[in-house]
Amino acid sequence: MTDIDEKLRRLGDRLDEEAPPISAAEVVNRADHHPYPRQRWVAPATVAASIVLLVGVGLFIASTRDDGRSDLVTKPAGPSTTATTSSTTTTAPTTSVTSDVRGGLPGERQEIYPYEGARLAVVGVASGDGLNVRAGPGSDYLVVFVLEPLFEDARATGHNRLISGRGYWSEIRVGERSGWVNTDFVLQPGQVDDVTSRLYPAGVERPSGSLGQLATAVATRARGDEITPKVVIVDGPSDGEIGEVAVDILGVDDDSVGGFRLRIFAAPTGQGTYTVRNVEQTLLCTRGVTDDGLCL
């Protein structure tokens, strides 16, 4: 055994000491007392704060033009940023929230994905924005809670409706609460892969620039020949020892793959610039996800 082998073996022993085995009792206790996922949206204080912000503190809801953008909420704190690859600026809403919930549901029920139990992630919502979850299918229903751009733990109930002129809406469940979302903004997350070497094989120079520029550069390289994808920065940019930014690429020309989420990690090179270090890709699936994390 070489010296490095011995060091690694000792490292393994030390890691096992620091992180001992997890017992069945610990697992069951954790599941009973802290159901997975640990959602930030279930706390009453969070819900109350969201509703106060929505209704009374000058937080605007998007206009009545229901093209899907009306389901996005522009929060007062934090700028929302979008990549320049395609035009996806958040609208400047001015209408107030309607408070009535109509009896009955509009549109027609559709036997289509997402099917009951499918795990759903919020997609295509710019960093700093949020996705409205409404009391019914349509933007004139009351907002019951809001999901952050990176939220990945909603569940489809299997009830989907096509609203004439307004697209598809799906009923979702988050913990004990349920509501409706425009399906343009939810997809099923699949496998996560480190795609750094695929995007930038040996000999290919990795891009440098600001984190926003890197987001655009990596998204452009990742989307390949896609002509009209929608590219949105959904997290960050976050400066630091390692810069981070996450980008959603949507609208790809594929029935099963709705898009990709790229999480870009970059090393600082000085004066606010970075070089791509790693890129993690999450598949975003339309119809469903196999046990292997591939899109159905």
Partner: protein
């Protein structure tokens, strides 16, 4: 816990827990990694019916754990550093009892490279076992390992 459920989950734990915990610890550090593993196993318990139909349970839970791990490391810095010796919170510490050079070297790897090296070279898992834990092919695992060992 019903007896059948208990038996089945016990079997899952025996088979999956060590690799899952060690993979996540290698990726995110002892504290965050163990928490992510415990979260994923709690999820597996809550969804034990579905887990019974999954062929690669270790790899499936590795993916489940990523969501938890990312949530925990938000606000902390990612483990890969460029300059070497700094200690992001939740990372492999370079304090007494740790080989500082080795820890620093592991920090310079990508997550998948680091996990591959730790599983195969530190814990002695076969390539197929490590690949299953990372939910990747053996050839991908070999690539991670080769680059990590350099």
């Amino acid at each position: 816990m019903a007896s059948d459920d208990e038996d089945a989950f016990g079997a899952l734990l025996r088979d999956v827990e060590p690799r899952l915990r060690r993979s996540l610890v290698a990726a995110y550090g002892p504290e965050a990694g163990r928490e992510a593993a415990a979260d994923a196993l709690a999820w597996a318990w809550e969804h034990r019916g579905r887990m019974a139909t999954v062929s690669n349970q270790a790899g499936y839970l590795w993916r489940v754990a990523q969501t938890s791990a990312r949530r925990r490391r938000r606000g902390r810095r990612f483990e890969v550093t460029v300059d070497g010796m700094t200690e992001p919170a939740g990372d492999l510490p370079a304090s007494a009892g740790w080989d500082a050079d080795l820890v620093a070297a592991l920090r310079r790897l990508t997550m998948h490279q680091r996990v591959a090296v730790v599983l195969v070279d530190a814990y002695g898992y076969h390539l197929s076992e490590a690949a299953a834990a990372l939910d990747c092919s053996v050839s991908s695992l070999r690539n991670h390992l080769t680059r990590g060992r350099k």
